[in-house]
Symmetry: C2
Subunit: 239 residues, 2 copies
């Protein structure tokens, strides 16, 4: 099956967590909205038509045959077993999904470091609030999330190579992306935090060495980080 991914064409954003799974699995997919001529119109048509079956609230969403699935963690819940990136047991899948939802919370908090007041306002219009929120994020939330996932790796009874059992899963790919994005957005803070969260650093390296993933990362399909996405580099927020 050829999957259709719909996401804002100019940013990695939440769509990237889905892209990494599709790319690592070598899945057949099309990144619909990135077609310069027809892409945004196709996405808007589905987004604005609430009568569409399983209407999404927001991108990303995936079309798989006749099925529309929104919410990045839900898309990965669906794709995981189909791409060989999820555990086989129901209990393992719930655990993978629990971790992915915690990644989603982390992403939302990270986004709000530069947009603590409103997604509809420019960063410059909420810069003072952003400084306060980012300081809290660096001091409290970032170490808490990093420490949690580092402990999950440490305590995996099957070894610390991956978060779930002995095999790679979509959660590992998402954690790679978190480290990747955090290094871009908070380089100074991450230089301080990584040495005490070595399992995360090692996971990041292990994932970036995967052949299909590393080919993707150096391809034009991988959008660069930029100041429109979720991970943004504002030096004043990384004090």
């Amino acid at each position: 099956m050829r999957y259709e991914l719909y996401y804002w064409p100019g940013i990695q954003g939440r769509g990237e967590f889905v892209r990494l799974a599709l790319e690592d699995a070598g899945a057949d997919y099309v990144d619909v909205a990135r077609n310069e001529k027809t892409g945004m119109a196709a996405m808007t048509r589905l987004l604005e038509n609430r009568a569409v079956k399983h209407a999404p609230f927001a991108p990303p969403f995936l079309k798989a045959g006749n099925l529309i699935i929104a919410q990045s963690a839900n898309i990965l819940l669906y794709l995981g077993p189909r791409l060989g990136l999820a555990p086989k047991s129901d209990a393992g899948r719930l655990w993978a999904h629990q971790l992915q939802l915690t990644v989603a919370d982390w992403v939302a908090e990270l986004h709000d470091t530069h947009h603590p007041i409103s997604g509809a306002l420019y960063y410059e219009e909420q810069k003072r609030e952003a400084k306060r929120r980012a300081a809290d994020f660096r001091r409290e939330r970032l170490p808490k999330f990093l420490g949690y996932f580092n402990d999950v790796l440490k305590n995996n009874p099957k070894g610390s190579k991956y978060v779930l059992g002995k095999a790679v899963s979509y959660v590992d790919l998402s954690l790679f992306q978190m480290i990747e994005g955090l290094r871009y957005a908070f380089p100074r803070t991450m230089r301080e935090l990584e040495p005490t969260h070595r399992q995360m650093t090692e996971l990041h390296r292990r994932i970036s060495d995967r052949p299909r993933l590393s080919a993707y990362l150096s391809s034009p399909r991988r959008l660069p980080f930029n100041q429109e996405g979720i991970f943004r580099r504002y030096p004043e927020l990384d004090a």
Copy 2:
């Protein structure tokens, strides 16, 4: 099976979405942390031990036999079919979960109206920022979420009684809770918005009339809304 729910004992919070499902189904469960003598110690023991299998990042979490499941939407994904509160098909369950994750996003945004800077600071320490964020929430985000779910009800091909097909699901119970909480936190705004979102108002009434749910709502098990929870009444945020 007797389920064990773990959540902060003094508030409805995110635990309430799980409680409503358990109560409506008449399930056998214990609200562990509300035991005044042993409850918080039992919850803390599980929260602080990262070596525990499927360690939660935060409450709520559910113990079902030997299984620990965290993240309220994930708990409902697990409980839904077991409590008769989810569709039978896989596609229907993904759709229910997609909606529940959108409720979770709504809850997170609502929480940040009174805590836009940090969950570790008092409201009074972020009151100015809260006013700005709450104004954006009332003007932009609340109508967007309300309108989305109202449209989902309107466009249900099986009728507008419930969000999914012809039968009640855990998503309907969660939407009841959203209306309930929003009326508490933003009474003026909701008086303005409800007349144009009638399907939501009607759903709220339909759910509150369910015998087991209405018995629960008037029981001491239902904690009152208060100024510690997610839904708080600060008149200055409801301008």
